[in-house]
């Protein structure tokens, strides 16, 4: 069992930036295109994923010594499905208008690659606190990605933010259609990769001059 030797803060940062679900790992891209046509939808989707990811990592880590490796996948599925049902029902009760739009994708969190992957590669091998930190970091990374994508899509596609009109005129309708989702995700991914290239280049330059 490979225990992690990173500090909790490093784990959170890892999930948020260097292993960001959408922009760096390029997994769970389906909701990043499907629900990010408004900031509100993106926000709630992100919150739901933070909750599920953290709680799944916590639970898997708690019972890691009792999971028989041969049946670990069904067990993970059950845990994930349980928490997804929880958030699904709470949102149906307390955030009705949003749930009507993105309810299907909330249920689809069950099939998220990122949640399953973290349970499999991290939580099942590590102690509780690092697992929670890792899950939370991953969730926040996803949340930030959803916020950034939906911010640009709603602003450009509707000229509004959180449903409040800001920019008058004729918005770029395509940005709130699925095609616009691909444009937004692709361009933002390119932008972050470019930033990353610049930062590593600068770090390397500093390393040589020192």
């Amino acid at each position: 069992m490979a225990h992690t030797d990173k500090s909790n803060w490093e784990l959170i940062k890892n999930g948020m930036f260097s292993e960001n679900t959408i922009f760096r790992m390029a997994i769970s891209l389906c909701p990043s295109i499907a629900v990010t046509n408004s900031l509100k939808n993106g926000f709630f989707m992100g919150v739901a994923v933070i909750f599920v990811q953290t709680m799944v990592n916590l639970t898997v880590s708690l019972i890691r010594n009792f999971i028989n490796p041969k049946i670990r996948i069904p067990i993970f599925m059950l845990i994930i499905a349980g928490y997804v049902s929880l958030i699904d029902m709470s949102m149906a009760a307390f955030a009705r208008p949003v749930y009507k739009q993105i309810g299907l994708y909330i249920q689809l969190i069950v099939a998220f690659a990122s949640i399953f992957a973290r349970a499999e590669v991290f939580a099942v091998k590590n102690k509780i606190v690092p697992s929670v930190a890792d899950g939370f970091g991953m969730g926040v990374g996803f949340f930030l990605a959803m916020i950034v994508i939906s911010f640009f899509r709603e602003l450009l596609g509707k000229g509004a933010l959180w449903g409040i009109p800001i920019v008058p005129g004729h918005p770029l309708l395509i940005m709130i259609l699925p095609a616009g989702g691909f444009f937004a995700v692709g361009l933002l991914m390119g932008f972050f990769n470019w930033m990353d290239m610049k930062l590593t280049a600068r770090k390397a330059a500093q390393g040589t001059t020192r």
């Binding site: 004729h170 770029l172 309708l173 395509i174 940005m175 259609l177 095609a179 444009f183 390119g190």
Partner: protein, 334 residues
């Protein structure tokens, strides 16, 4: 010995060179489009000049700025950005707010062409994808068509529907009502005195340009002919009302952006198959998709989407029709 060495030039093939180059071809195609462009200025007035100029300027400028920003070699002199802007302008309706052509050109040059690696690497035809983007983004502004009444002097034009729009919404009867007799209809479709995108209306001048390109062998007959033939046959078979084999192929062949698309955009070297057999398949596919959209789809015109969809298939078609290597032994299936 030392002096003699200079007399032998050792170089890599090709050894026989011509004055043809990317640059030469691009400017020739632009020149071939010029008569139709002039006709559009005549029919649609100053607004047409404005839209076309805006497209060309913003295409060339965005190519320059993008390449400058990324420290790439600046290639605005090769005329490809100019041609993209020109084609995009000719594909737009004449009366548009100023920002529409600008956004379309930036989209075409930066996203479709430069982000994929520049000229020669783009999957889709830049001008057409720019137009598709605009059509989906501002569906209303992109479907306001002007009647061809400006004649360079008139300032404003009456809005009307395109022949294909009338055909789709109200049928052949209404189309006859608008244009008079059948020969009148054919005549206005041929000369271009009809509503439509800027450069697509004048069939005869476009054909003139296409004939020049065919004569100079910049394009071959494979794609345009198979494209037009498929459209003609399908229009004849399925274009009629109710019964088969009663459609009017001439109306379908001459209206919409078919001539412009078949000769000037489907034949784009970068986005069509390179093997002749593949080009015929490509043309047939374009034609079939065009008629499918025109007759059954939600849009009155389908040339743009047909070419873009077939662009995706170009590499696949090329793989499918690749000739066997001479003397190569086929790998046995296990």
């Amino acid at each position: 010995m030392e002096a003699k060495r200079d007399q032998f030039i050792v170089s890599v093939s090709p050894h026989v060179r011509d004055e043809e180059s990317v640059r030469h071809i691009m400017w020739s195609v632009s020149a071939a489009l010029f008569p139709a462009l002039l006709a559009s200025f005549w029919f649609f007035g100053p607004k047409a000049i404005f839209v076309t100029a805006l497209c060309i300027i913003s295409s060339v400028l965005s190519e320059y700025i993008f390449q400058k920003a990324l420290n790439r070699k600046i290639t605005i002199n090769d005329g490809s950005a100019f041609l993209t802007g020109l084609l995009l302008g000719m594909n737009l309706p004449p009366s548009l707010p100023f920002y529409v052509p600008i956004v379309g050109s930036v989209m075409a040059v930066v996203i479709v062409k430069q982000l994929f690696g520049g000229l020669g690497y783009n999957i889709f035809n830049p001008a057409l994808l720019g137009r598709a983007f605009l059509l989906i983004t501002w569906p209303k502004a992109m479907t306001i068509w002007s009647a061809p009444t400006a004649k360079l002097t008139g300032l404003d034009a009456v809005t009307t529907a395109t022949p294909l729009g009338i055909l789709k919404e109200e049928g052949v009867g209404k189309l006859m009502e608008e244009f008079g007799t059948k020969s009148d209809l054919y005549m206005s479709l041929l000369t271009g005195e009809r509503a439509g995108s800027l450069g697509e209306t004048s069939a005869i001048l476009l054909l003139l340009g296409a004939a020049y390109l065919l004569y100079k062998k910049y394009i071959t007959w494979h794609i345009p002919l198979s494209f037009l033939a498929t459209v003609g046959v399908l229009a004849w078979v399925f274009g009629g009302k109710g019964t088969l084999f009663t459609g009017d192929p001439v109306v379908h062949l001459l209206s919409g952006g078919l001539i412009l698309g078949a000769f000037f955009m489907a034949t784009d070297y970068v986005t069509c198959p390179t093997i002749r057999k593949g080009q015929i398949i490509f043309g047939i596919g374009c034609g079939a998709l065009t008629m499918l959209i025109r007759l059954k789809g939600g849009f009155p015109e389908g040339v743009m989407f047909a070419i873009l969809l077939m662009n995706c298939f170009a590499p696949l078609i090329d793989r499918g029709v690749k000739p066997d290597l001479f003397g190569a032994v086929k790998e046995k299936k296990k």
